[in-house]
Amino acid sequence: MNLVSQTAKSMSMPNSSVSWKSGEPDPFPAGLRVLVVDDDPTCLMILEKMLLNCLYEVTKCNRAEMALSLLRENKNGYDIVISDVHMPDMDGFKLLEHIGLEMDLPVIMMSADDGKSVVMKGVTHGACDYLIKPVRIEALKNIWQHVVRKRKHEWKDIEQSGSIEDGEQQQKQTDDADFSSSANEGSWRKRRKDEEDQVEDRDDTSALKKPRVVWSVELHQQFVAAVNQLGIDKAVPKKILELMNVPGLTRENVASHLQKYRLYLRRLSGVSQHQSGLNNSFGGPPDATFGSVSSFNGLDLQALAATGQIPAQSLATLQAAALGRSTTKSGISVPLMDQRNLFSFEGPKLRFGEGSQQPQQSNNNNKQINLLHGIPTTMEPKQLANLHQSAQQSFRGMNMQVNNAHGNQSSSLLVQMSQPPQSRPQILNDTNVNHLSRLPSSLPQPTLSGGMPSSAALARNGMVDNARGAVYNSVSQASSMVDFSITQNTDLPGNSFPLANNPSAITSKGVLREEVNSEMKGSRGFAPSYDIFSDLHQHKSQDWELQNVGLAFNASQHSNMQGCLDVQPSVLVHQGFSSNQNSLQNRNTSVGKVMFSAGEESGHGNAHNIDQQLNTFVADNSLIKAESLPEASCQNMLFPEQFTQEDLMSILLKQQEGLGQVANEFGFDGYPLDDLPV
């Protein structure tokens, strides 16, 4: 049965935001335009009937891609989307991200799966509700509340952006802007209620409806450029709007987009912290170094230096390297470009979406970007430039903050990493999250983000360092980096960065670099056996991903995350977790494709094989990493994701290639980070 985009209208209304005629009593919520997406025709039909019985306008769709194109074609054609989680053509969470970024519509997730992790995933990805199948009509009767809530929130933005930058409303706005998402949801809802009380005369929600702004790639690039220019701390919607200078764009459009962006960054930083932490713990000095180096882009370095954990000299070196590096990115451009092109999604959106859902990832991106700057990798200038540019563009501001956060964490992680493994368990025990978050911070390595082919090399190298973690880190980092680069084809050269942020990615980078640079090996004891490495990578990527998740949590908990991270630890943990996974997964999906091309470029085109290996390895790795990494949960989530592994591998491969170069440039023989005080 072909149920593609059948529309059942309970009311014949023009497809406009205001669906009722003036003069008549507001029939809201009747006429609410719902788009329901589910590959199961039975469920789809039942839902449609239920929604019709609620007097909503229903459009049903059995494919996520179809749903996206429907939404894109009718920018303001729908008020709310209900989507299944498990769909064959696209993961429901991915769809959720896209919709959130591109159309900013409330999305409700549904599944027969009522496991806490899946529900949490929905939360972190920005779903406004989660329904357990079989869905009852009572559950659908009140979905209109999500539409109203969102409108009111946007309305508030408008008001606040108007003239009242300060004042009691500022506080409210700040709360919203901080967007601790689920963490603040309670207070947010409370604020809503207050607002509702205030705007009783505006209970006609039609007045709150605004034409939706579609954040195209170009628009998002402009946005990111403006944010970076202002600095993430100072990036207020008003100024961003002025900088962007886009006719027709309102401050509230920018404000809501900024919120999402921050969430995305937060997720990235969580992941990157995760990764760097992982690197630290796993990697021998090189990894740690790399991780920290990568995250030492500007702020990170400063942060680390500030914390006194990084020798000032190393910091300076890193910084110099990073700066030098940033200008030399070009080599990566090719694979990146290809990757970008492969991304049909709005580039920034996509990345954003993926990143937004997972603050950790965004952090990664940021970190990676920074890394590139700071690390004078030998990556081909083009590549680096690409990565750098993209990363910078999108995440410059965020990176800074993230890096700082990560930097702090990485330094601490580095310290830990240099510690004997025992310390690791401690760290790990400290809530896997902490451990994980720490790792990522050290992980972000610019080289990885560059998607340097060295990463691939690294992957191949069986860097059998006893610091498996490091390898894993690098692997996962590679993947994360790659993923990002791919997804963020336009804005974020730093796509590769996000991967780097992932602890795994970072480690892989580190590892990769070592591999590539024969000199590097010495200190690590990385065996340049590519096979082993790939195996390790696979495992590691898995582990790292999990770790990343954990780390992401930590990162957020640390509240090192500057800028928009106002996440409460518990919340972040979960968010980081799921988002990490999600982002990785999501990215993997998109990256996977790209990665293949990238991987091929580096000569490791067998990402798929790697994935398989990774899958195997991951499972093993999880066992290996008995240490408290919250892999168990992460793994559960990650493992089913074949893409993740693939992505990781590709990223690794790319990173390896890139890393090798970077490492060379740095000339890291020993790893300065080794000396970091514990």
Partner: protein
Amino acid sequence: MERSQMHRQLANMRKALFDQGFLDEQFVQLEELQDDANPNFVEEIVTLYYRDSSRSILNIEQALERSPQDFTKLDSYMHQFKGSSSSIGAKKVKHECTQFREYCKEGNGEGCKRTFQQLQKEYSTLKKKLEAYFQLARQIGPIETATRPK
């Protein structure tokens, strides 16, 4: 057969289906959706379910025969199948699905096969019972079926 007798018979059939655990509350939800605009809604849904799920059944069958078995895939198929089954209120079928997924998590191929056989039995039994039920309902007439007592 007299109309009122048919009504009673239909009501009894329906009650038995619930009492014997073949159907659960979700089926009632479907019944409540049935109205004048869609007088045969429940039958349509159930027909759609059996048509669509036969594909899932086939997939699972084939996947079970493979060696080694891919439990992730099996679990995924079953998750999908469970979702549909629960949405029409097929209680016993749903229970077998849950059991099957448990075995998948354990990697117990034999357990999966056994459960799947049981599942298929429940699946066919329910199908026959519902077919008979709808046949009678159609005989009585759409309006009456829509207002049958709960």
